[in-house]
Symmetry: C2
Subunit: 238 residues, 2 copies
DNA sequence: TCAAAAGTGTTCGTCCTACACCCATGA
DNA sequence: TCATGGGTGTAGGACGAACACTTTTGA
C-alpha cells in the first residue's frame, strides 16, 4: 500500500441515486437536466460528489433531500446498488460512482436544485437515453428492486404510512409489469408474519367507489420467507 | 459538478477481495498478513489500489491473480459485494473500498505476494479479528454468498469442472452450516433445467468406499427458480 | 459379508393457483 | 340497481419434507 496521498491521479467519488416512485399506477424515476458540460441539456440521475467528511450513504441522503426538497428523508428507504468504476465513465476525470436506489411513497413536486437546471419525475419507460452510463444504472436499479420485492418486505417503502392491500398489490404489479391474483396476494401477505399489521378500525375508500378497504401499516419483518415469486412469463424463466 | 481535479481532498480507491473456498469440507478464506503499518502484523483481506487505467473489477481480478498465484483466473467467479466508504476506515487517508467476493474450487497454495508478508487459507470460523473493517466485509461476503446459493446456480463455482452431486451438496452444507436431505437435494438439482448436466458415462469414487458417483458439469443456467431455500432453523426465519 | 456412499420410491402434508362467490359503497 | 373495488371460500394440483429401501463399490 502507498502512503503518498498525491502519488496517483486523484479519483473523484460521487453518489448517484435512482429515485423510484409510483405515480398514477406508473413507475416513475426522478431525473435532473444537466446545467453544464458534459452532457449539458441531457437528463441524468441526481447525485453529486461525496464530501471529505461523508460516507457515500450520507452523501446520497443529502443529495436526496436537496433534489426532492423533502424536509425529512430519514425514514425513506435508501440502499446501495453497486459501484461503477470504468475508467472512461466521465470525460473530465476519473469518477467512481456509488449508486443507490431510493424508494418514495407519495412524491413531492421536485424543484430544480442547486446544481441542476431542473428536476422532474419521468415515467420509467420513457426515461433515457441518459447522460454518462446512467441508462445502465437505472436498468440495474429496476432489476434490483424487482428482485427485492420477491424476498423482502420492501414494497411497503413505496406506500404511505397507512395503505390498503390493493395499493400494496399495485406496487408489485407496477414494478413487475404483471397482474397478480388479488385473493392469493392478500392471503400471501397476511400469512407472512410481520409484513403488514392492520390499523384497528381504520378503512378508506379508494377509487371513489366500492367497499372501503382496511388500512395496514408496515410490520417489523424485513425478509419474506417463503418468497413471493413473480409469475414466470409462460415457460422457462430467464 | 466540479472541474478542478485537485479541488478536494483526494480519494484513494481500493479493490478488496473475500476469496472463499472449501477445504476438507470447511469454508476457508484467503487472508494476508500485513507487512506495514497500519495494522502491521494483523491479518486482512487481500486487495490493493485501483490503478488509473483500471476498473475496480479489473483491479480485483489482477489482485486475485497476484495473491493466489493462479495463472488463469479468467474463469473464476468474481462478483461485486458492495462499497465501504466511511470517512475513518483508514487512518492514513480517505480510502473508498469496492469489495468483491471470489469463489474458488480446489485452491492453490498461496505464496506471499508482493506487498503482503504472507498469504494463507484460514478457516472462516477462526478468521479475525482482521485489520480495518475487514471483519464486517467478510461477514457481508458470507451472508451474500449464502443468500446467492438459494436462488442462483453459484454453487458450481465452488466445484471443479467435473463434480459429483455429493460434492455440490457439500458446498451448500458448508456455506450454510446445515445438513440437507440427499434424495431431495438431488431431485431438486436435477429438476432445475440448466443447473447441471451429466458427463456421459463418467463416474468417480469419492470416499474410497461406496458406489461411484455420476459426474456432472455446470450447466448454462444462472438463476434458480423456484429457489432452493435453506432450512429455517426452527420457527421464525430471521 | 459388512460399511459406506450413491441412487430410487413413496407417502403425506403444505402451499400455490384458479376460479366462483359474497360484501359494501357511490352513482 | 348497477358498477366498482374489497374480501372469503374452495377444489385441484404441484411441490417439498421425511424416511424406507435398493445398488454398487472396497475392505
Amino acid at each position: 500500500m502507498e502512503y503518498d496521498k498525491y502519488a496517483h491521479e486523484p479519483f473523484a467519488v460521487t453518489a448517484d441515486l435512482a429515485v423510484l416512485t409510483i405515480l398514477d399506477g406508473v413507475l416513475h424515476v426522478l431525473l435532473v437536466e444537466r446545467g453544464q458540460e458534459p452532457y449539458q441539456g441531457h437528463w441524468a440521475l441526481p447525485g453529486g460528489f461525496v464530501q471529505p467528511d461523508e460516507s457515500a450513504e450520507t452523501a446520497a441522503r443529502r443529495e436526496l433531500a436537496e433534489e426532492t426538497g423533502l424536509s425529512d428523508v430519514s425514514g425513506l428507504h435508501l440502499e446501495q446498488l453497486r459501484t461503477y468504476s470504468e475508467p472512461d465513465r466521465d470525460p473530465r476525470m476519473r469518477v467512481v460512482t456509488v449508486a443507490f436506489t431510493a424508494l418514495l411513497p407519495h412524491p413531492p413536486e421536485p424543484h430544480g436544485g442547486s446544481d441542476a437546471a431542473q428536476a422532474r419525475w419521468v415515467p420509467y419507460d420513457t426515461a433515457g437515453p441518459l447522460a454518462f452510463d446512467h441508462d445502465r444504472i437505472l436498468a440495474d436499479a429496476h432489476e434490483r428492486v424487482g428482485a427485492q420485492l420477491e424476498h423482502t418486505c420492501l414494497a411497503t417503502a413505496f406506500c404511505p404510512p397507512e395503505f390498503t392491500l390493493g395499493e400494496l398489490q399495485q406496487v408489485y404489479e407496477t414494478v413487475w409489469g404483471t397482474a397478480l391474483d388479488r385473493p392469493n396476494f392478500r392471503r400471501k401477505v397476511l400469512a407472512t408474519p410481520g409484513f403488514v399489521e392492520p390499523v384497528p378500525g381504520a378503512a378508506r375508500l379508494t377509487g371513489g367507489r366500492g367497499k372501503p378497504a382496511t388500512l395496514y401499516r408496515a410490520g417489523a419483518a424485513t425478509t419474506l420467507r417463503p418468497p413471493l415469486l413473480r409469475p414466470t412469463s409462460e415457460g422457462r424463466p430467464a
